[in-house]
Amino acid sequence: MADGGKRSPGAVHVPSTLAGLGALAFAIGVLVYLTDRDPGRAALIPAVGVLSGTALFGAVGAWLPSFTHAFAFSLFTAAVGHPNASVPAYGACAMWWALNSAFELAQLPQISHAIVDALKSAPVPAWLIAPLSNSLMHGTFDVADLVAVAGGALAAAAALHSLQRKDCEHE
């Protein structure tokens, strides 16, 4: 079902469904930071006292945000994509897999130091260099995150495939 079209009964509105699924996944990722990580440690996520330290997700919380980020933003990107594409927006999944994987690999010390040194001598504004450099230098590379990112992108691709089939069945 494309933007603005009349839907047959039982049809799914693909962009809305994608955005909704993405928002749900994104919220779960944020919840991990609120419940399983040090209060206020993430730069843009405030501490919520009642949730902090509850360790709601246990061991899964170690890699779940990587999964949900790749999943959610693949769906967000697909949701704002070309609505009459004949195939689902698998490119969005590939893009977010690549971007997340690149950020994870960039936390390897031998890579992060080189990037930070390069950023310092590049014509990039300081307000952009500082958070990026600190994110790379203080982050720790984790193979589990790479696997989670790939899983998130694949899950998003599966969701796109499934939704497109449902949509087509109602055309």
Binding site: D38, R41, L44, F73, T77, S86, S121, S133, E171
Partner: protein, 336 residues
């Protein structure tokens, strides 16, 4: 998805850019908050003048080792002119951003290697680093598996009666990688504190038998596996140490509490290179007028290496439980 009904929207490319931007912000924003971690890795320059530094900042090598120095220059207008110097004297032909010392000699021990940089506007800067050279290979003491029998622990608790308690185990999995040493702090309601000095049974160095010490290097990885978020922690310290003649020494410039919690930032590697005799702080009996604290000479008392962890709770804080992990602990001793 029907093609006939597609209405192209001029806002669609903008929405694409917005989603990508938000995604990148989410990645960076989920990273550590530098205000919690202490001094930022990158300090935005407030002064537009050229700045230069030499990497590696401090190092000790065995004689004969090829040493590469790098000049890192900021706030400069290309092209740049470089001149490397050894103890203030220009090195012939060393005019690039890197300088390779083709086999460090004992005569290079303590030498200051500097680079003077001038940019196209005529702005100049200079920076340097001191190289230490040992005639001997490094003595490396390390533990990556942490059997409980490899370590001893001495505790100092406040209050002493019904105060904090501790327990140490070898966690068989979840380290970086494999086993790690798990240390559990059971802290009583504040104020309280618990200082644990862990010493490796076999990690000893006897200057009388093995020779005087030139410098040391330390590295370890630390992780806070779990903690009570309601507690208010104080006196946080986690550092490599050595014990000599009843005193416990730790590098003065060690980052105070590098342990992080949770997820992809669970293990934090911290290291410090080339720490010399005068760069330690100690706890224990006061240093006598005729004593060297520490003493790296060939007549010095034996050293035993390990690490220390201190945790405390502020007055009024509820009781707290903290589980810390230590992995990839390593000490390098360079002999004179």
């Amino acid at each position: 998805m029907s093609k006939e009904r597609f209405q192209p929207s001029p806002l669609r490319p903008l929405a694409h850019v917005a989603v990508v931007a938000l995604g990148v912000i989410a990645i960076v924003g989920s990273g550590p908050d530098i205000s919690i971690l202490g001094p930022p890795v990158y300090d935005p320059p407030s002064d537009p003048t050229l700045s230069v530094r030499v990497l590696p900042e401090r190092q000790t090598v065995q004689a004969g080792t090829i040493v590469d120095f790098y000049a890192v220059v900021n706030q400069a207008v290309q092209p740049l002119a470089y001149q490397w110097r050894r103890n203030g004297v220009d090195i012939t032909g060393a005019t690039g951003p890197t300088y390779t010392l083709g086999g460090a000699q004992l005569g290079d021990d303590g030498a200051l290697f500097e680079v003077a940089v001038k940019d196209s506007l005529g702005v100049s800067g200079i920076a340097g680093t001191t190289l230490l050279v040992s005639p001997w290979p490094a003595v490396v003491l390390q533990d990556g598996d942490f059997p409980v029998s490899n370590w001893t622990v001495s505790a100092t608790a406040q209050p002493t009666q019904d105060g904090p308690t501790h327990a140490e185990t070898q966690a068989t999995d979840g380290g970086n990688p494999g086993p790690y040493r798990s240390v559990t702090f059971q802290l009583t309601p504040g104020p309280c504190s618990l200082r644990l000095v862990h010493l490796a049974v076999a990690a000893t160095y006897d200057p009388a038998a093995q020779g005087a010490i030139h410098a040391m290097e330390f590295s370890e990885e630390c992780s806070r596996r779990s903690f009570s978020s309601a507690a208010t922690f104080t006196d946080l310290n986690q550092a490599p140490v050595f014990e000599q003649a009843g005193r416990t020494y730790q590098p003065r410039n060690w980052q105070g509490y590098p342990c992080q919690s949770g997820g992809s930032i669970a293990w934090t590697a911290t290291s410090i290179g080339t720490v010399t005799e005068d760069e330690f702080v100690f706890s224990g009996p006061p240093c006598g007028a005729s004593e060297r604290c520490p003493d790296f000479s060939a007549s010095a008392a034996p050293l035993r290496f390990g690490f220390v962890t201190t945790l405390g709770l502020a007055a009024g804080s509820p009781a707290g439980l903290v589980v810390q992990g230590i992995d990839n602990w390593r000490v390098t001793v360079w002999k004179k």
